[in-house]
């Protein structure tokens, strides 16, 4: 994990981009009618749809966000996972089937019964567009943040991706979107499984050993920061609510409710329109929940792995265990990447070609 992290990240995304272009072409060939476009003709199989739901749900953001939250505050990061996950069965129980019975393509069909002539179509299109696009744009922007690129290139990248993405949704419709999500889910689940496996392998597959090492490390870091032994121990990642996160009951309850209701993934509900009428979506929902839950458990392990493998590596953090002052990856110069990756050692002075130094 301390190896060429950003490069692997970039590779994964490059593969995903290339494959998704192929998929869009395949998807377009099969999209003919309006029902095809919005709901993939109601004929996406349950297994694929379950994966697609999981792909919709677990973005790169939740992967990076939750594992780094655990890296930062320990156990409290798990509350995020649980809150996100719990919102989903509730929406499934309460809304999914009703929605499917009432609406035609999107939840806007249900929400705008006042003007049946124009409302549902326009509202549906709008809601669908809003559901499909920002999610993706946001994801790409965050993906770009992970890679050390100069700001000018970033603007072009965002522009190109925006155009591609619009074409993609316009021509591919729901089939293309479904396939993209399926592949995203497979890649995310696969990579997270490998990472969690590798982390656990370092500790003889004993979570206890993993946690013990993480607690020890955090306590050492806190002691190095000038705390007494007792106080340092309380900084440990298993001390729930250590530090400033969720210190009083009111904020904990408010946070819990916001997580569950606030992140209600309405756009994911549209996936239920892509399922054949029987069985009524529940099958798909169960599959999706299974994948998502598994993924969050993996994330928890990876977060603790990060405490040990990154929090202990002087190439990444300073003596008190803090990451560099600016949190985004752009601030870490290629020289720094080079220092931590093995391939660079065989090349002559990679810092000469650093974007940062050529711009300075």
């Amino acid at each position: 994990m301390t190896g060429p992290g950003p490069n692997r990240d970039r590779d994964v995304r490059g593969v995903r981009r290339a494959r998704s272009l192929v998929i869009r072409r395949l998807g377009r060939r099969r999209t003919k009618t309006r029902a095809d476009f919005y709901a993939a003709g109601g004929g996406v199989s349950g297994f694929r749809n379950g994966l697609a739901i999981a792909g919709d749900y677990m973005s790169a953001a939740s992967f990076l966000g939750i594992s780094s939250q655990i890296f930062g505050v320990g156990y409290d990061g798990l509350i995020y996972s649980i809150g996100f996950l719990v919102g989903w069965p509730l929406i499934l129980f309460l809304m999914a089937e009703r929605l499917r019975n009432l609406g035609k393509y999107t939840f806007a069909d249900v929400a705008s019964p006042v003007s049946p002539a124009a409302g549902p179509e326009c509202g549906g299109l709008d809601a669908r567009r809003r559901a499909l696009l920002p999610d993706r744009a946001d994801g790409r922007r965050r993906a770009a943040d992970q890679i050390a690129v100069p700001p000018r290139c970033l603007a072009y990248a965002v522009l190109i991706v925006g155009v591609l993405m619009t074409l993609y949704v316009l021509f591919g419709g729901m089939i293309a979107t479904t396939w993209v999500q399926v592949i995203k889910a497979v890649l995310l689940l696969g990579c997270a499984t490998i990472m969690a496996f590798a982390v656990l392998a370092q500790f003889g597959f004993s979570p206890e050993a993993l946690f013990a090492r993480a607690v020890e490390l955090k306590a050492n870091l806190a002691a190095a920061g000038g705390m007494g032994p007792e106080q340092a121990y309380r900084q440990g990642p298993l001390h729930h609510g250590a530090g400033t996160f969720l210190t009083d009951p009111i904020s904990a309850i408010s946070f819990g409710m916001a997580l569950m209701f606030g992140t209600g993934p309405l756009h994911i509900l549209m996936r239920f329109f892509t399922v054949p009428p029987t069985p009524p979506g529940a099958h798909v929902g169960a599959l999706g929940t299974g994948w998502i839950g598994y993924f969050y458990i993996l994330t928890f392990i990876i977060g603790f792995g990060a405490i040990i493998l990154i929090g202990n590596n002087p190439a990444w953090v300073d003596a008190t265990g803090a990451l560099p002052a600016t949190p985004d990856a752009k601030s870490i110069s290629p020289r720094r990447w080079a220092a931590t990756s093995s391939w660079a050692s065989s090349r002559p002075s990679p810092s000469r070609r650093s974007w940062r130094s050529s711009q300075a």
Partner: protein, 70 residues
């Protein structure tokens, strides 16, 4: 699900030390099995819901058939 989740959040809110208590003599705290258990419960409940749907449909269908035969 709601009950379990709000129970958990209430624990977070009012009695953090309980969740931070180590179990089994090691460092693994009680919060970890509880948290992972909640995730598994969510999976289990959606699984039950999945089985429940077809069963409910069958019961409804049987009731309909019996109603017609009379």
């Amino acid at each position: 699900m709601l009950v379990a989740y709000f129970g958990y959040i209430a624990l977070v809110a009012f009695d953090k030390s309980l969740l931070a208590r180590p179990i089994g003599g090691g460092v693994t705290s009680l919060g970890i099995p509880v948290g992972v258990g909640l995730i598994l419960l969510a999976i289990l409940l959606t699984g039950l819901y999945k089985c429940g749907g077809p069963i409910a449909t069958m019961i409804r269908w049987c009731a309909l058939r019996d109603g017609e035969s009379e």
